[in-house]
Structures are given as structure tokens and as C-alpha cells.
Subunit: 192 residues, 2 copies
């Protein structure tokens, strides 16, 4: 999506450690209109696909998911909560996710009440890099018996292999912008 | 807002400790259409008021804030991040907030880049009870020199005194539903 690529070029800051700072429109401050336009693009890519629920992870995924839910006819958003504690109750599905940024494991949990084998879900997030968080959501979906119809992320870092590994598994992955290469004090190159 | 009151009566669950569980449409699963309608109501209450930014706290405030931002002509959303660590960098405004639910202090932080004395802001959250989180956002706004034009929350627990204390300070507070009284296994009574 050119609008998003242009915004990343204009306002994104590449930090050491392959970090792309997009706090001015996605991760801290949010441009809701940009997300709505991105969501309309996702809807076109999944035209005719039955979606009963949008599933994401707190916190930065929520804004993207709400825009996507609206574009898909106001289906419910369901966001996985992050738990540092290993103590989990029996009424949740969970998965353990490795955080590359913070070098620690954390659990993501979804209440069993809100996800079932009747659900056909679209997984949504702000970033897709190594795919750890996304694979955690997929594990939860499998445990719930829900069908993953596809994945939509705002920004994919293709030089980390999460997105392409998911595509190789046969999952339909759409990204608003796919970054092939970026470097500290250098250019950001998008997949064409 | 009758639609929200009806939804709370239908799907809200009162738990011991004055906890209202609304995980099915607000805190875990989100009904985006309901939030959009609530946001339109808030817009009517603040008709003609100049708003440059919607400010909220992660995670449950983000969905409400995105709907409100849309209703106010797509002004940016800015969400405060929660930090358990006391170590904070110089480039943030912060406030220390007491969490009644978790019986601990946490810091909320907003980057100095995104809030200034030019801003006229609307504070948004999912819940208003004792007002601790809201007072934290107000402290941050004061430190940034931003003007607080008002507060919009989905659900206010009036039996805790946060909302009325803010009104007594002269702040325009709008709540989608104001609960006067609720009890475990009992009725939920709204302010008329």
C-alpha cells in the first residue's frame, strides 16, 4: 500500500538492532484514517472470504484490528492478553511467545468463552517479523478449533522470515508494507 | 446511552469486589459498532469544542479512543504506555498510578514528542472508577502544558468517586453509562 510505504519513508526511524520506530502513527500515536484505508485494502484482498472474528494481541494490534473489523462488516475483535505470570486459569487458551525485543518469554491468553470451532478468523497485528506472536495466535486458534482464514499486518519485515514461513505453510498473508531491507541511517527498501 | 446500558444489563457480569466484567464487548472481545455509536454520542456532547488529539491508556482504552478519534474528524490517538519499571528516560512525560485491581503502582508514560502546549485534548478510557488512571493522564497533560477539554469514558462507576470528583474540578466528563449501584448476584442501577 503506497500510502503506508510513503508514511514509513517520511516518519519511520530505523534504530540499531533492526528496530523500525513508527511511534508517530502506529505504535504510540495512531493515525486512525491511515488504518481505515489499510483495512479497506485488506478487505479487497479477502473479498468473499467468510470471517467471523478478528483476533489480535494487545496493545498495538488493537487499533489495526478495530479498523479491520469495521471493514469486514463489524465482526467482533478479540485481543489476546499478555501475561508474564506462568499461573494461568483453566478457562483460557494460551501460548508461550518469545519476545525478541525484550529477550523473555511471555504468555498470550484468550478466554475459551470467545473462541470456538465455529469461528473463521483473521489474525491481525501491527508488525510481523520473526512471526513468534503470530505463531502463538495460530497455536491458540488450533487449540480452540477455530479456522485461520488469513493474516493481515500493517508492516512486515521480510528480512526476518516470519511472513514468508507462514506463506510457505499455505496461509494467506497480507501486509500493508513489506520491508525487504533497512539499515541504521540508511534507506528503507520495500518489496515491489 | 441506552444501547450501552442495555448491553451492560444483558452481558455484564458483576463479580465480587465491585468488578464489572464486560469482556464480551469491551475489555477482551470488542464490539466496534457499539463503540462507534458511543463515540458519535460523545461528539454531540462536545460539539464545537476544539480537539487536536485523543489521549488514552493501553490496552483497553485504545479501541474506545480510535472510535472517538474517528467521530472527531480523525484527529490522532495517543496512548500512554504502562511501565512497571521505575527507570524512565528523559524524553517522556510520566505519572505514577495506583492500580486498585492489582494493588500496585505502575507508571504511565507519553513521549514528549507527541504532546505539547499546542494540544487541546480529550481524555478517553473504557472505565472510570476511582479516577486514578485519569488523574495520571491529567498530570501528564499539565506537565506537557496541553489543555484538557474534557473526558469521555464508556462506563463510569459512580459509587467510586472518581467521575464526580473530576466534575467538581470543573472538567466536562461524559460517560456512556453511569452505574450508581451494582451488587454481586444483584441488579445494576444506572444514573438517570
Amino acid at each position: 500500500m503506497k500510502l503506508l510505504e510513503d508514511r514509513i519513508k517520511k516518519d519511520g526511524i530505523v534504530l540499531p538492532g533492526n528496530i523500525l520506530k513508527v511511534n508517530s502513527f502506529l505504535n504510540h500515536q495512531i493515525d486512525v484514517d491511515l488504518l481505515d484505508k489499510l483495512a479497506e485494502d485488506f478487505k479487497k484482498s479477502f473479498d468473499g472470504v467468510d470471517i467471523t472474528k478478528i483476533v489480535t494481541i494487545e496493545a498495538s494490534g488493537i487499533a489495526v484490528a478495530c479498523s479491520v473489523a469495521r471493514a469486514f462488516g463489524n465482526v467482533p475483535v478479540l485481543f489476546a492478553k499478555k501475561h508474564k505470570s506462568a499461573a494461568l486459569s483453566d478457562d483460557v487458551y494460551y501460548s508461550t511467545v518469545w519476545s525478541h525485543t525484550n529477550s523473555c518469554n511471555y504468555n498470550i491468553v484468550i478466554s475459551r468463552e470467545y473462541l470456538s470451532s465455529d469461528d473463521k478468523i483473521l489474525l491481525v497485528d501491527d508488525f510481523l517479523a520473526n512471526g513468534n506472536a503470530m505463531n502463538g495466535l495460530i497455536e491458540i486458534a488450533e487449540n480452540a478449533g477455530a479456522k485461520v482464514q488469513g493474516i493481515c499486518v500493517a508492516i512486515e519485515k521480510a528480512f526476518q522470515s516470519g511472513g514468508d514461513a507462514l506463506r510457505e505453510k499455505g496461509i494467506h498473508v497480507e501486509s500493508g508494507a513489506i520491508i525487504e531491507k533497512m539499515s541504521y541511517n540508511g534507506d528503507i527498501i520495500f518489496r515491489s
